[in-house]
């Protein structure tokens, strides 16, 4: 009984370890995408951290941190894709509609982002034996 339960525990531990590892890799990929995405918009000022990435099937995130005379700032802008448009929120409960210009800029960024990251992700996905 002890042997059997040990074996089951061992198997469960292995599954947990594999799941953890996949989560870590998934986060690493998003981290890499965020770096690549942040560099699509021109020079990043010194002392500024900028990331732009696809969070899930219906959300894009722009995160920026910078320091000025007022101290350190961080702003996360979330773009929620809805069937009839895209809404953005910036840390408040209020959602704002995008202006036409912002909508076009966002979509250009999305296209550039996908062109930059998808070929690499697809190649990695084909590594599966």
């Amino acid at each position: 009984m002890g042997f059997l339960s040990g074996l089951l525990n061992h198997s469960q531990n292995q599954q947990d370890a594999q799941q953890r590892r996949r989560s870590e890799i998934y986060r690493s990929l998003m981290h890499w995408e965020g770096k690549v995405g942040g560099e699509l918009f021109g020079p990043i000022p010194e002392g500024t951290r900028r990331e732009f990435f696809c969070l899930d099937e219906k959300t894009w995130v722009w995160h920026e941190e910078w320091t000025d005379s007022d101290g350190h700032h961080a702003l996360t802008t979330r773009y929620d894709v809805r069937p009839n448009g895209i809404l953005k929120s910036q840390g408040t409960k209020e959602y704002l509609a995008l202006t036409p210009e912002e909508a076009e800029n966002l979509y250009t960024a999305i296209v550039l982002y996908s062109e930059k990251v998808l070929p690499e992700l697809e190649r990695w996905s084909r590594l599966k034996k």
Binding site: R21, E46, Y107, T108, K116, W124, K128, K129
Partner: protein
């Protein structure tokens, strides 16, 4: 007991390498997620602002028109359409490489044109046979321009690796990328004044990271198996 161990070893050896499979699965999930998001985003924007997709497509077509393998954009401020400079696939000397690189060195760092030009150059160098490996193409591209540190090397290297179509190197590349970013003293050169010297220094650190990753993989190719 010996037989059991031998059998177990054979069965473990038959298992696919977990690192490779885990990366492949996660990358596949990301591909699916991004594709869905791009499709949803397009539909949503068209619903909100009709004509957006066509406008963006026209803009992208302009960008791609000069994105041929054998051409590098010469930069013009505020313009994506620019004259092209033909790249000789048989470029052999560093001087010639630098001559080809010079026109694009004034493109602002992180401008999409910068990335495209970097990738094209790495591709041209690697296919031209003037460098021995994709990594060398990336490092040469970077060092010759004096561009900005590790992240440029990452981009150029990833693109150059694609040209070589060596999937195992991409795994190493990603591992190295993550490892370098995790180093506590990692300071991108693009926050300093970029010179060929510190560019090489950054390149050396990347190489060290690659070596460290390779060593770690060689010492312990299957961490989960060892833990078991």
């Amino acid at each position: 007991m010996r037989i059991r161990n031998a059998e177990r070893k054979r069965s473990f050896e038959d298992l696919p390498a977990p690192e490779q499979n885990d990366l492949a699965i996660s990358a596949g999930q990301r591909v699916q997620t991004i594709r869905m998001d791009v499709a949803f985003g397009l539909r949503a924007l068209e619903a909100a602002v009709p004509g957006t997709a066509a406008h963006v497509a026209a803009k992208m077509a302009q960008l791609h028109a000069v994105n041929g393998i054998e051409a590098i954009q010469a930069p013009q401020p505020d313009a994506y359409i620019a004259p092209v400079i033909p790249i000789n696939r048989n470029v052999v000397s560093r001087q010639e490489q630098t001559a080809y690189i010079a026109p694009i060195a004034s493109v602002p760092h992180n401008d999409p044109r910068d990335m495209i030009a970097t990738g094209q150059l790495a591709y041209a160098l690697s296919k031209g046979g003037s460098v021995r490996s994709a990594q060398e193409a990336a490092v040469t591209t970077h060092a010759a321009t004096g561009w900005n540190g590790g992240r440029d090397i990452d981009h150029a290297s990833i693109v150059a690796e694609s040209s070589y179509d060596q999937p195992e190197d991409n795994v190493r590349d990603l591992n190295a990328y993550v490892k370098v970013l995790e180093q506590p003293d990692y300071a991108p050169v693009d926050q300093q004044v970029a010179t060929p010297e510190n560019s090489y220094d950054q390149a050396a650190r990347m190489s060290n990271a690659w070596a460290a990753v390779e060593q770690a993989q060689s010492d312990n190719p299957n961490p989960e198996l060892k833990a078991a």
